[in-house]
């Protein structure tokens, strides 16, 4: 541990988090999103990459209820999910245009 008196060996230097601490969710306002995320994790063998949509939803829940500082999702590493959503919306837009014209 960091308290060992090993002269010259590495020690662990704890660093504060980049965006500070999460305020506590005393009323469990986002517990539903958390449960969805945990169920997804258990179903997908605890693979984080498979459950990113659910984790994004949880963070959005926190931001809506003032339990987290507002931050654009790109800065939280969800740029690829946002791009996928935009692509889907564009495709939907194109399809509805086609339907409208025909």
């Amino acid at each position: 541990m960091s308290t060992a008196m090993n002269f010259g060996s590495k020690s662990f230097k704890p660093r504060p988090p980049d965006k500070g601490a999460f305020p506590l969710d005393h009323h469990g306002e986002c517990s539903a999103f958390k449960d969805v995320y945990m169920r997804c994790l258990r179903a997908k063998g605890f693979d984080n990459s498979a459950c990113r949509q659910q984790s994004k939803d949880y963070l959005q829940c926190r931001m809506e209820r003032d339990l987290m500082a507002q931050e654009s999702l790109e800065k939280l590493g969800y740029k690829d999910l946002l791009e996928n959503e935009k692509e889907k919306e564009n495709k939907k837009g194109k399809n509805s245009n086609h339907a409208g014209t025909q």
């Binding site: 020690s11 230097k13 660093r15 988090p17 500070g20 601490a21 506590l24 469990g28 605890f46 949880y58």
Partner: protein, 242 residues
């Protein structure tokens, strides 16, 4: 004959010795050295030279001393700019998160551990034992804390990452550590940790065989009015918040 006799008594000077600022007397080789009793001009110039040299040496010594004092903040600035030595790089973190791409060929297993100090009566545990992440992708994990006692307890936590070589690549975007968390009696809360592993992890030669990282949190009871010294958190160091 008389001329020669006269010359012997009054020798003629033949050339001027530039350094000694005197005349060399031919025939007698009388040389005047710049001693205590020498003319003022010769000694004065030498003294001025000496004083100049001494001034340069003194200035050099003071400059070296000042440089050794200035080296501490300068080195800190250099580390912040280049990110060497594992120091938190000021202003670099959000750029990394926005622009990083996941390294899908290197899957890492992150184990979660929860501890409490012996005097701390909270029940604290992780909600998942492990999560499989890749460097360059943000991940979310949960811990759960419950206060089973009859009175509110304030907790404060710190964390540890093993192996130590991997600790510098483990970046927490947001968590619940280093700040006092108040739990009322009987209250149970979810404590999230939002983190990512820096993509430079795959380039580190010391971490070639590492595929398991353990994140361990420990909760302590915070005393009322007691402000612990937190690592660069409240100060003006490179890790300080905002």
């Amino acid at each position: 004959m008389a001329l020669l006799a006269a010359l012997r008594h009054f020798p003629l000077p033949c050339r001027k010795a530039p350094l000694l600022n005197t005349w060399l007397w031919c025939g007698r080789h009388v040389v005047q050295r710049s001693t205590h009793g020498t003319p003022r001009s010769a000694g004065g110039e030498a003294r001025r030279r000496n004083i100049t040299v001494l001034t340069y040496i003194a200035a050099g010594a003071i400059g070296m001393l000042g440089l050794s004092y200035a080296a501490v903040p300068l080195y800190r600035l250099y580390c912040q700019a280049t990110g060497l030595g594992g120091q938190a790089v000021a202003g670099h973190a959000t750029d990394t998160v926005t622009s990083m791409t996941p390294m899908r060929d290197r899957v890492l297993r992150v184990l979660f551990n929860a501890d409490v100090h012996s005097a701390m009566q909270w029940k604290f545990r992780p909600q998942q034992m492990e999560v499989y992440v890749v460097p360059g992708e943000t991940a979310l994990a949960f811990y759960k804390a419950k206060n089973p006692t009859d009175e509110p307890i304030i907790g404060i936590s710190t964390y540890n990452v093993l192996p130590l070589d991997a600790a510098q690549y483990f970046n927490k975007i947001q968590c619940f550590c280093f700040e006092e968390q108040w739990l009322n009696s009987g209250e149970e809360v979810d404590l999230p940790v939002f983190f990512y592993i820096d993509p430079d992890f795959v380039d580190d030669p010391r971490l070639i065989g590492v595929d398991t990282i353990t994140l361990s949190y420990t909760f302590f009871q915070a005393r009322q009015g007691h402000v612990p010294t937190l690592p660069g958190f409240h100060g003006t160091g490179p890790g300080s918040k905002e």
